[in-house]
């Protein structure tokens, strides 16, 4: 009996959230990684704020991307290992919606906290206070798009040996547009320009991702589980 | 003739570029033929072992 997709999605999301909060320390790891990476750039480049400000969009977005890639490993791994993913696929309910729910929870637990705490890193990179809201908004939106794309590569590498690095290698080229528009939005915010153009494009990519990525991820997972 | 090789001074870039292009063309042809020949040999060997 096929339950309404939204109901199934809600149940999967609730389950994932509950499981995640059993190990709250794991939730902090991507955040800590991001902060450390953001610290490494000034250490390796220069302490001069004016020069760091120029590099800030790049540092923030590459840091966010790397943390996101690390966190992607956890999207499906545990469920694939204990057979839950297989149960999802066999359940007769919409795998697409279930994976979409998992992706959303993944973003809520990694991408969104990262975006919200980015101002801490941004201050250290010379980003002016007036730009902070835009920094958070662009990272939040871009982070969601990254989670969506990452779900596809996570699904594809389920059956691969040493899938971790491969997952990153597969996601990176696909993430290029997100990075370009996101970093542009951050840059514009820092110099005081209107951030709407790149944000609209980032939004368009996200919408495309929302419609297509869960389908592709579900197909990928089915291939991996065969 | 030396004009042809110098290519108005750009020869040191132009000829390596063409060498690279032709090189990739030849390399891929050679690799393709070699992979075919290996596949044929393998198939023949398997048939000898397992008629």
């Amino acid at each position: 009996m096929k339950a309404p997709a939204l109901e199934v999605a809600r149940l999967v999301a609730a389950r994932d959230l509950r499981l995640a909060f059993r190990k709250p320390s794991q939730l902090l790891q991507p955040l800590m990684f991001f902060m450390i990476v953001a610290t490494l750039f000034p250490l390796t480049l220069t302490p001069e704020m004016s020069r760091l400000r120029d590099a800030a969009p790049g540092v923030l977005w590459v840091g966010a991307l790397l943390s996101s890639l690390l966190a992607l490993e956890f999207l499906f791994r545990d469920d694939a290992q204990d057979g839950t993913l297989e149960q999802f696929a066999l359940s007769g309910q919409s795998l697409t919606w279930m994976l979409f729910a998992k992706t959303c929870v993944h973003w809520l637990l990694t991408g969104l906290p990262l975006a919200l705490s980015a101002p801490i890193a941004a201050v250290g990179l010379g980003v002016p206070a007036g730009a902070m809201w835009s920094v958070v908004a662009s990272l939040a939106l871009g982070g969601f798009a990254l989670s969506l794309i990452g779900a596809i590569s996570a699904g594809l590498t389920l059956g691969a040996r040493r899938g971790g690095v491969l997952l990153s290698l597969l996601t990176l080229p696909l993430a290029v547009p997100i990075l370009i528009y996101g970093a542009d939005a951050t840059h514009r915010a820092i110099v005081g320009m209107e951030i709407a153009p790149p944000m609209y494009l980032l939004g368009a990519i996200t919408v495309l991702g929302v419609t297509l990525a869960p389908l592709a991820a579900a197909a990928a997972v089915r291939i991996g589980l065969e | 003739m030396s004009e042809f090789f110098s290519m108005s001074g750009y020869g040191i870039y132009l000829w390596p570029a063409f060498a690279l292009g032709i090189g990739v063309v030849v390399l891929n042809l050679v690799m393709a033929l070699s992979s075919l020949s290996t596949a044929r040999k393998d198939a023949r060997r398997r048939l000898e072992i397992n008629p």
Binding site: L156, T157, G159, R161 | F18, A32
Partner: protein, 245 residues
């Protein structure tokens, strides 16, 4: 219906193998002839460019290589899609055969682009949108080959990499557009255009012929690689016995 028999034959490995064996020499020969004629036309016959002098002649190797790298990726993605939708082994074999060739031509496009860039812009590498997009394309190819290599089960490897190819091909225009956007943000004093001089006919026909030559060449190489793939995949089939003895 005639169309369906044609399609069904396309799915039959022995039939495709035979077709490949018969046609490869002709296609390869035509490619060689076109290449020689085009090279003569481009290197000898075509007049030098007003601005770039003889340096523009690098277009005859750079542009076809770049175009081919993109065309091969598209072919790979189409073959992959056909393999997924109609579950044709031959299609998956064709996609696998495309990848290394495409990756090499991406390398050739990048290398020739760098050699063209040095005299024109003074530096071996510039973040020109075309070159940057080619670089990302190379990463897409390497990712595809890496995924294939990383999955042990050949069936799963076929399907997973096919999905990746399809997702990748949808992304290629998005990536190109975003790279162009990015490039336009940072206006450099000299306009960095990958020297497409306004070409008159004497310059243009060798270029078009070169495209044709490269396309024919790729078809020939693909057919050769496809034969090797089919032999490897179908090792226990009876038609293989007849073909190799």
């Amino acid at each position: 219906m005639a169309t369906w028999t044609w399609f069904h034959r396309l799915a039959s490995p022995p039939h495709v193998y035979g077709f490949a064996r018969r046609w490869t020499p002709w296609i390869g020969g035509a490619a060689a002839v076109c290449m020689v004629v085009a090279l003569y036309g481009g290197l000898v016959l075509a007049p030098e460019d007003y601005q770039q002098k003889d340096a523009f002649r690098m277009v005859y190797v750079h542009a076809p290589a770049a175009w081919l790298s993109l065309m091969i990726y598209t072919t790979m993605a189409v073959a992959a899609a056909v393999g997924l939708i109609w579950r044709m082994k031959v299609a998956h074999a064709a996609a696998a055969a495309c990848a290394p060739v495409g990756a090499w031509f991406t390398v050739a496009a990048l290398g020739t682009g760098m050699l063209w860039g040095k005299p024109m812009w003074g530096a071996y590498w510039v973040w020109d949108p075309r070159l940057t997009a080619e670089l990302v394309l190379l990463f897409l190819y390497l990712g595809y080959m890496g995924l294939r290599a990383g999955i042990e089960d050949p069936n799963k490897a076929d399907k997973a990499s096919a999905m990746l190819a399809v997702v990748g091909v949808i992304n290629v225009p998005i990536i190109k557009y975003s790279v162009e956007w990015w490039n336009s943000l940072h206006q450099t004093p000299t306009v960095m255009k990958m020297g497409k001089p306004s070409m008159d006919t004497a310059m243009l026909w060798p270029l078009l012929l070169m495209f044709v030559a490269f396309a024919l060449y790729f078809a020939a190489v693909l057919l050769i690689r496809l034969r090797a793939e089919l032999l490897r995949r179908e090792r226990n089939a009876s038609w293989v016995r007849e073909v190799v003895t």
